[in-house]
C-alpha cells in the first residue's frame, strides 16, 4: 500500500507527538506491585494462600502476613531474590515440588517479574487500614490514570496515542509491527467494523482513486455518520441487554420490546454520551427531565425473562427478575460476576453477600410499567399502530432496602440491607436520594474505576477479537491482567472526559495499530500465537447477523430500512418447529422488503432462536451475554451452503453477476469476486472460477429440470444456474466470511 503521508498530520497524531516524552522504557524500572506482581499472586497463589485457605500458614494477599512468611520461614527477603524461599519454590529448586501445586507453572517472564520486584526492595503498598482484605487493591479497583506516552524509536509509525503504547511494547520485545493493509482491505475492514456492511464496488473504487490527503479519515467520518452505524453497534449492546421479543421459559409469549431496540439505535447514531446512555437505561423514569424516550430506555431492565407457568409464585418470579437485573448491571458496567455472591461471599473477589443484596435493593422498589409511546408507523406496510413499550417506574414510597437471602434461597430471609454501592468501591455521594438514579449516576462518575475501563475494553474486543483484558467479562482477580495496562487506562480516562463513543471509535480505527495488515508472520506467531502484542491486525469470522447482512448486501437483496417491529425472515424449513413444538408460535415469512432486513431486526424467540443465527453462535438472549464464542463447525458449513436464507442470496447474487457488464464470463466472475472481498481475483483464482463455471454450464446444459430448480424458475439457463453455483461458492469463501 502506498502510504498516504498526509494522514500523519491528523489532529490526534499531532497532539501525540508533542506529548511523547523521552522517559526511559518501562521495562527498565522495578515492576509495580499492584500492576505487575499482585495479579500473578492473585491468579496463581491465593486460592491456597489467601483469605479462604492458608496452606503452610502462608498468606500472600495481605502485606503484613506475606512478609512474615509461613511455616517454611521467610518467603520474601526484600532486595534478595536469591535468598527468598518463594523464588526457590516457584522455580522448583530443592526437594520440594514446584509451586503452584495446582494449575500451570508460572512463565519465565512472570518469575522474572517477581524476582526483579524482590531485588528492587519488594515494595508492597500498605493495605487499606482496618481491613485484611487486600483484594480491594486489585488493579481494576484502583482508578485509572493516564501516564505519559512511552517513548518509541519508530516515531513515524505512530498515528495516535494507542500506537505509542502498542509500539513501545513491540519494541521492547524486538518485534516490528506489520505494514499497513492495502486500501481494499482497509475499506472493507472499516465498513464491516463501523456499519456492519461491506463496501459497494463503487465505494471501493472511489476510495482507491482518492489520492487527496485525508482520504481514510473522510472514509471513517462517512461511516460514523451512516445510520447503519447505530444498527451495527446496537447489535453488540443488545446481547448485553438480553434484548428479545419473547418472555422465555415454557410459554415464551411475544412481548413488545422493539421500541427499546430502536431507542438504542437512535441513541448510538446521535452519539448520545455513554454516561447519559447509562442513566437513561437504568433510571430514565427518575431523571428530572424524563421524557417518553428516556422511559422507553428503561426497557433495558424489562428485558428480563418472565415465567408465566401455572405454578409460579408471582413474588418469587419478581424476585428472579431482581436477581437478573442485579447480575446484569454488575456484568455490564462493573465487568464483575456478582452472581456468586447471591449465596456466599465471593471466593476471590471482595464482593460480599451483603454487597450483592445492597445492589439488588436498588431495583427492589421498581414497578414494571407500559410506557405509552403514542402511535408508530410500520415502515413495511405504512400502517399506524397504537404502541406501548415496556419499561420501569419507581414505586412512590418506601426506602430502597431488601432482605438478604441466606444461602441465596428465596424463602430464607436474612438481615435487612439498605441499597448501597459495593463496599470495596467508593460510596454514593452524601445526601443524595438512594435510588436507581443515584446508582446510575454513580456508575458513570469519576469515583467508579470500572465502567470506563470495561466499556473501552469491550469496544476494543470488537475490533481486535480479544480485549486488552482478554476476560472482558471478568475484571476481578480471576480474570486476565491487561496486556497493555497503561493503554487501557489511557483510553478509559480519555473516554470518560466526554463519553463519546464515536470519538472512541475514531481514535481506534485511525490508529496505525488498527490499520496494520492481518497477515500472519510465522516467526511472530510462534512467539505470540494469540497476537496479544498486536504486531498485526486480527482476522475473524463475521458474527451471525453480520454474516447474513453481508450475504444480503452482496446479493443486492438487503433492505436498508432502519427500525420498526421485528421481522420474520426466510430460514430453514419448518422454522417455527425446529427446536420446540409450540403450535401457537408460527413463523410466517415477512412480506416484501421485510424478508430482507438486517439481522438485528429478526424476531428473537428465546426458546427457539432463528436457527441460522444460533448455528453461528448467536445467544438465545435469555440472560446477559458478555462475550459470544466464535466457533467453526460443520453445521455452519451446511448452513452457508444450503440454508434457504443463504441459498436465496446466492440465487440473487448469481443473477446480479450474470447481469454485470462484460463480454466474457471472466468479467462477470471477477465482478462477483470483487463484490465479496473488495479486491481483484488472482490469475489462479479467476482461472479456477472459470473452470468451475464451464463445468457447471456443461452439467446443467443437459438437464433442464435441474436448471430450472436452481434458478428458481426465473430466467433459467445453464449459464444462469452456473453463476448461482459460483455465487454459492463465493459466499462461502473463508475470505468472504472473514473480516480481514
Amino acid at each position: 500500500m502506498h502510504d498516504d503521508n498526509s494522514m500523519m498530520h491528523t489532529r490526534s497524531a499531532g497532539i501525540l507527538l508533542l506529548l511523547i516524552t523521552s522517559a526511559a522504557l518501562a521495562a527498565a524500572e522495578a515492576p509495580d506491585f499492584d500492576r505487575a506482581v499482585r495479579p500473578i499472586l492473585a491468579t496463581s497463589c491465593i486460592s491456597c494462600h489467601g483469605a479462604e485457605k492458608q496452606k503452610g500458614s502462608l498468606r500472600l494477599d495481605v502485606k503484613r502476613l506475606a512478609l512474615a512468611g509461613g511455616t517454611s520461614g521467610i518467603e520474601i527477603r526484600p532486595g534478595d531474590s536469591a535468598g527468598s524461599y518463594l523464588m526457590a519454590r516457584l522455580r522448583g529448586q530443592g526437594d520440594e515440588p514446584r509451586m503452584p501445586n495446582k494449575g500451570d507453572p508460572l512463565t519465565a517472564a512472570q518469575i522474572a517479574t517477581i524476582a526483579t520486584w524482590i531485588d528492587a526492595g519488594a515494595h508492597w503498598p500498605d493495605d487499606p487500614a482496618g481491613t485484611d482484605v487486600a483484594r480491594t487493591r486489585h488493579w481494576s479497583y484502583v482508578p485509572p490514570r493516564q501516564v505519559p506516552l512511552p517513548a518509541v524509536h519508530r516515531q513515524d509509525w505512530v498515528r495516535t496515542p494507542i500506537d505509542a503504547f502498542v509500539l513501545a511494547r513491540l519494541e521492547q520485545e524486538g518485534i516490528a509491527p506489520s505494514p499497513e493493509a492495502d486500501r481494499q482491505t482497509l475499506i472493507r475492514r472499516a465498513s464491516l467494523d463501523l456499519i456492519g456492511l461491506p463496501p459497494s464496488t463503487e465505494e471501493v473504487a472511489a476510495f482507491i482513486a482518492d489520492q487527496l490527503p485525508g482520504a481514510y479519515d473522510r472514509l471513517v467520518d462517512r461511516l460514523l455518520a451512516s445510520p447503519h452505524y447505530g444498527e451495527r453497534w446496537a447489535r453488540l449492546w443488545l446481547d448485553l441487554a438480553r434484548y428479545a421479543d419473547t418472555d422465555g421459559f415454557e410459554f415464551d409469549s411475544p412481548r413488545t420490546m422493539w421500541p427499546y431496540r430502536d431507542w438504542v439505535i437512535r441513541a448510538l447514531n446521535a452519539d448520545m454520551p455513554f454516561d447519559r446512555f447509562t442513566i437513561d437505561q437504568l433510571a430514565g423514569d427518575l431523571i428530572p427531565d424524563a421524557t417518553t424516550e428516556s422511559r422507553i430506555a428503561t426497557g433495558f431492565h424489562r428485558n428480563t425473562m418472565k415465567n408465566s407457568e401455572g405454578g409460579v409464585d408471582p413474588e418469587e418470579a419478581r424476585w428472579e427478575t431482581l436477581l437478573d437485573r442485579t447480575n446484569t448491571t454488575a456484568e455490564v458496567w462493573l465487568g464483575s460476576t456478582f452472581g456468586c455472591a447471591q449465596c456466599h461471599n465471593h471466593k476471590y473477589d471482595p464482593i460480599t453477600q451483603h454487597d450483592y443484596y445492597a445492589l439488588l435493593a436498588f431495583f427492589d422498589h421498581s414497578d414494571e410499567v407500559a410506557v405509552p409511546t403514542g402511535a408508530t408507523t410500520t415502515p413495511a406496510d405504512g400502517k399506524t399502530h397504537a404502541l406501548a413499550s415496556l419499561g420501569l417506574a419507581e414505586k412512590a414510597t418506601g426506602q430502597a432496602e431488601t432482605n438478604l437471602r441466606i444461602r441465596g434461597a428465596y424463602v430464607s430471609k436474612g438481615e435487612l440491607v439498605t441499597a448501597a454501592t459495593p463496599a470495596f468501591l467508593p460510596p454514593l455521594p452524601a445526601g443524595v436520594a438512594v435510588n436507581r438514579l443515584a446508582l446510575a449516576r454513580w456508575l458513570v462518575s469519576p469515583v467508579n474505576p470500572l465502567t470506563a475501563r470495561v466499556t473501552v475494553n469491550r469496544i476494543w474486543e470488537a475490533y481486535f477479537s480479544k480485549g486488552l483484558v482478554e476476560t472482558s467479562d471478568d475484571f476481578g482477580s480471576q480474570g486476565t491482567s491487561p496486556s497493555h495496562p497503561e493503554l487501557l487506562d489511557w483510553l478509559a480516562v480519555a473516554f470518560s472526559h466526554e463519553w463519546s463513543l464515536k470519538r472512541l471509535h475514531r481514535l481506534i480505527v485511525t490508529s496505525a495499530t488498527y490499520r496494520q495488515s492481518s497477515l500472519v508472520e510465522h516467526a511472530v506467531s510462534e512467539r505470540d500465537p494469540y497476537n496479544r502484542l498486536l504486531a498485526r491486525s486480527s482476522r475473524f469470522r463475521l458474527e451471525a447477523e453480520l454474516l447474513r447482512d453481508n450475504a444480503l448486501s452482496i446479493s443486492g437483496l438487503l433492505s436498508p430500512a432502519v427500525g420498526g417491529p421485528s421481522v420474520f425472515p426466510l430460514g430453514p424449513s419448518e422454522i417455527g418447529r425446529v427446536n420446540t413444538n409450540k403450535e401457537n408460535m408460527t413463523w410466517t415469512v415477512s412480506a416484501g422488503p421485510d424478508a430482507h432486513r438486517r439481522g438485528l431486526y429478526t424476531f428473537w424467540r428465546r426458546t427457539s432462536p432463528y436457527p441460522t443465527f444460533a448455528t453461528f453462535d448467536a445467544p438465545s438472549r435469555e440472560v446477559c451475554t458478555l462475550r459470544r464464542p466464535r466457533t467453526n463447525t460443520p453445521l455452519q458449513a451446511l448452513s452457508g451452503l444450503n440454508d434457504p436464507a443463504f441459498w436465496e442470496a446466492a440465487q440473487a447474487f448469481g443473477r446480479r453477476m450474470a447481469l454485470a457488464p462484460g463480454q466474457q464470463p471472466a468479467d462477470h466472475l471477477a465482478y462477483g469476486y470483487r463484490l465479496c472481498v473488495a479486491h481483484e481475483p488472482s490469475r489462479a483464482t479467476l482461472g479456477r472460477l472459470e473452470q468451475a463455471f464451464a463445468a457447471d454450464c456443461a452439467a446443467f446444459a443437459g438437464d433442464a429440470a435441474r436448471t430450472r430448480s436452481v434458478c428458481g424458475a426465473r430466467d433459467a439457463s445453464p449459464e444462469a444456474a452456473a453463476y448461482i453455483m459460483i455465487a454459492n461458492v463465493l459466499l462461502n469463501l473463508d475470505e468472504t466470511m472473514t473480516r480481514e
Binding site: G310, S620, R630, D696
Partner: protein, 485 residues
C-alpha cells in the same frame, strides 16, 4: 480437562483452543500429538477438531449415553413406587404434618390422598414393583437399576427441566450432553456427537435450553435430529443441486480457500476447509442413518416402530443406530407426562395410559436390542422426568378427573447398561410416597454418577468461565456407589 496427560503445557494449549475456538499452526500439531496418544483404539484416525475423541479420567465401562427424558414428569406412584398404604388412605385428607409450610404449584388448601388406580405386581429376580401400565418394562426389570429416591430443588417444569439437564435452574450452564461431549469428544467424524430426538406432546418443555452448550463452545451443543424434512438442519442440498455439483463446488471452494491460506497463513482457514469436508461427509452419512426402512421387520416389531412414522419408537431405534455410528450422547425428549387431572386426557388413568403406551414397548425394546448386540455393556441408558408427582389428588377447580401435582421431594428413575449394576432397587420413600426415608439421591448425585460411569470425575470435568472453574455438579454431587457394577 479430561485427560491424564501429565504435561500442563499441553493441557493449557488445548484448553485455550477450546476456549477461543481458534488455533495456531503450532497448536494444531500439538493437538495431533495429544490425539495420537489416546488409548483404547477409540479414534479411527488422528483428528484435530474440537470433537476429536479424548481419553476419560479413568477406565470405565460406559462409552456413550442414551437418555430417555420424560418431559412433564411421569407419576412415580402410578408406575414404580408401589404404596399399598396410600391406597388404604385413598380420599382421606392429607395429614397436616406433611404439607405444613409446603409450596405447591397448583394444590390449594388441604388436599386428599390419592391411591393409585392401577394394579402393581413384582417382576423378575429383583422383585421390582411395576404397574400394569408398563408391561414391556416389567419384562426387562432385571436389566435395570431403579432409584426410587430422586429429589430435585425445583417444582416448575421450566426450571426443573433445565436443572435436571444442566445442574442449574437458570439458563446458561451447559447441558449434560454438552459436558460429556466436551469431556470425551465423539468417535464419529461424520455425525454430531450430541444428538437430540423429540417426540410427544407440545408442552411442557424448556426448549433448547435443555441441550444448550451454555458457555462451552457451540461445537458441543445438542443437534436436534428431526423426523420431518431434513434430519439435520440444512443437510440436504438446495433443489436442483446434485451430489456431483455439490462436490464440484466444494472442490472449488477448497482450492480458493487453500490459496487464501497460502497468502494469509492463518490456520483458522484450514479448520474452515475441514469443517466443509466434514459437512459433506454428513451429507452422505445422515440420510443413511435416518433411513429406518433398512431395518428388518423383526426389529420394527420389537420397537413398535414403522418406517416413515415419526414418534418415540422410531426415535429409540434411531438412538441405537446413532450410537452404532459413533455418537456420544443421544437424548430423547418425550413430552406430555404432566397429568394434573384437568381432563381425561390429562389424568392418571386415560392420559397416563396413553403416554405409557407411546413409550413402554420401545424403551424396553431398546434395552433388549442393545443387549442382543452386545452394546448394553458399554452404553448407559437413563429413563426419567424432571420431578415426581404428589400422593394427593390435585382436584383443580373441583375437577373429578384424577391427577397429581408437581412433587420435587421424591421420584423414580431407572438406569441400565454400562457401569450400572442390573437389578438394583435403591432408595425408599415413606408409606405414602411423600418423603424419602432411605438413601436420597439428589440431581447433583445423579449427575456425578452418570459422569462416573463414563470415566469422568465430576470434580475434574471443568471449564473456566468468567474467572471460575465450572462443573456440571457445581460444588455438589456424590457418586451413588451402590448403583455401580
Amino acid at each position: 480437562m479430561p485427560t491424564d496427560d501429565p504435561s500442563p503445557h499441553q493441557t493449557l494449549s488445548r484448553r485455550q483452543l477450546l476456549a477461543t475456538g481458534t488455533r495456531s499452526l503450532g497448536a494444531l500439531s500439538l493437538m495431533s500429538l495429544v490425539g495420537a496418544h489416546l488409548v483404547g483404539g477409540d479414534a479411527p484416525a488422528v483428528r484435530t477438531d474440537p470433537l476429536a475423541p479424548k481419553a476419560p479420567h479413568f477406565p470405565a465401562r460406559a462409552k456413550r449415553v442414551i437418555y430417555l427424558f420424560m418431559g412433564g414428569a411421569p407419576s412415580q406412584l402410578d408406575l414404580f413406587d408401589y404404596k399399598p398404604k396410600l391406597n388404604e388412605l385413598n380420599s382421606q385428607p392429607c395429614p397436616e404434618s406433611l404439607i405444613k409450610g409446603e409450596r405447591f404449584a397448583f394444590i390449594k388448601g388441604v388436599p386428599k390422598l390419592l391411591g393409585s388406580p392401577h394394579t402393581f405386581a413384582r417382576h423378575g429376580q429383583s422383585g421390582m414393583w411395576v404397574s400394569e401400565l408398563l408391561p414391556h418394562t416389567a419384562k426387562v426389570v432385571d436389566q435395570l437399576a431403579f432409584v426410587r429416591s430422586l429429589k430435585t430443588d425445583h417444582f416448575n417444569h421450566g426450571p426443573a427441566q433445565i436443572f435436571m439437564n444442566s445442574g442449574h435452574q437458570i439458563v446458561g450452564r451447559p447441558s449434560m450432553g454438552s459436558w460429556v461431549t466436551y469431556g470425551l469428544g465423539s468417535v464419529s467424524d461424520s455425525l454430531p456427537g450430541f444428538v437430540v430426538l423429540l417426540s410427544g406432546d407440545t408442552d411442557p418443555g424448556a426448549g433448547n435450553a435443555c441441550w444448550t452448550s451454555g458457555f462451552l463452545p457451540t461445537s458441543y451443543q445438542g443437534v436436534p435430529l428431526r423426523t420431518k424434512g431434513d434430519p439435520v438442519l440444512c443437510v440436504s442440498n438446495p433443489e436442483g443441486v446434485d451430489a456431483d455439483t455439490r462436490r464440484r463446488s466444494l472442490d472449488t471452494l477448497r482450492a480458493l480457500n487453500d490459496e487464501h491460506y497460502q497468502a494469509v497463513g492463518d490456520a483458522d482457514i484450514l479448520s474452515r476447509i475441514e469443517a466443509y469436508e466434514m459437512a459433506n461427509r454428513m451429507q452422505r452419512s445422515v440420510p443413511e442413518l435416518a433411513d429406518l426402512s433398512s431395518e428388518p421387520a423383526s426389529i420394527h416389531a420389537l420397537y413398535g416402530s414403522e418406517p416413515g412414522k415419526p414418534g418415540f419408537a422410531s426415535n429409540c431405534l434411531m438412538a441405537r443406530r446413532l450410537i452404532e455410528r459413533g455418537a456420544r450422547f443421544v437424548q430423547l425428549h418425550h413430552r406430555g407426562w404432566d397429568h394434573h387431572g384437568e381432563s381425561a386426557a390429562k389424568d392418571i388413568v386415560t392420559g397416563l395410559g396413553k403416554l405409557c403406551r407411546e413409550t413402554d414397548q420401545a424403551s424396553a425394546a431398546l434395552i433388549t436390542d442393545l443387549r442382543g448386540r452386545g452394546l448394553l455393556d458399554d452404553t448407559l441408558v437413563i429413563w426419567g422426568g424432571e420431578f415426581g408427582r404428589t400422593p394427593m389428588n390435585e382436584a383443580r377447580n373441583g375437577s373429578t378427573f384424577l391427577g397429581r401435582d408437581h412433587h420435587p421431594r421424591a421420584f423414580t428413575m431407572w438406569l441400565a447398561g454400562g457401569g450400572i449394576k442390573p437389578g438394583v432397587i435403591h432408595g425408599e420413600t415413606d408409606d405414602v410416597g411423600y418423603n424419602i426415608v432411605a438413601d436420597p439421591v439428589h440431581v447433583h448425585d445423579l449427575h456425578a454418577t452418570i459422569l462416573n460411569c463414563l470415566g469422568l470425575d465430576h470434580t475434574r470435568l471443568t471449564f473456566r468461565f468468567q474467572g471460575r472453574d465450572y462443573r456440571l455438579t457445581d460444588v455438589h454431587g456424590e457418586v451413588v456407589r451402590p448403583l455401580l457394577a
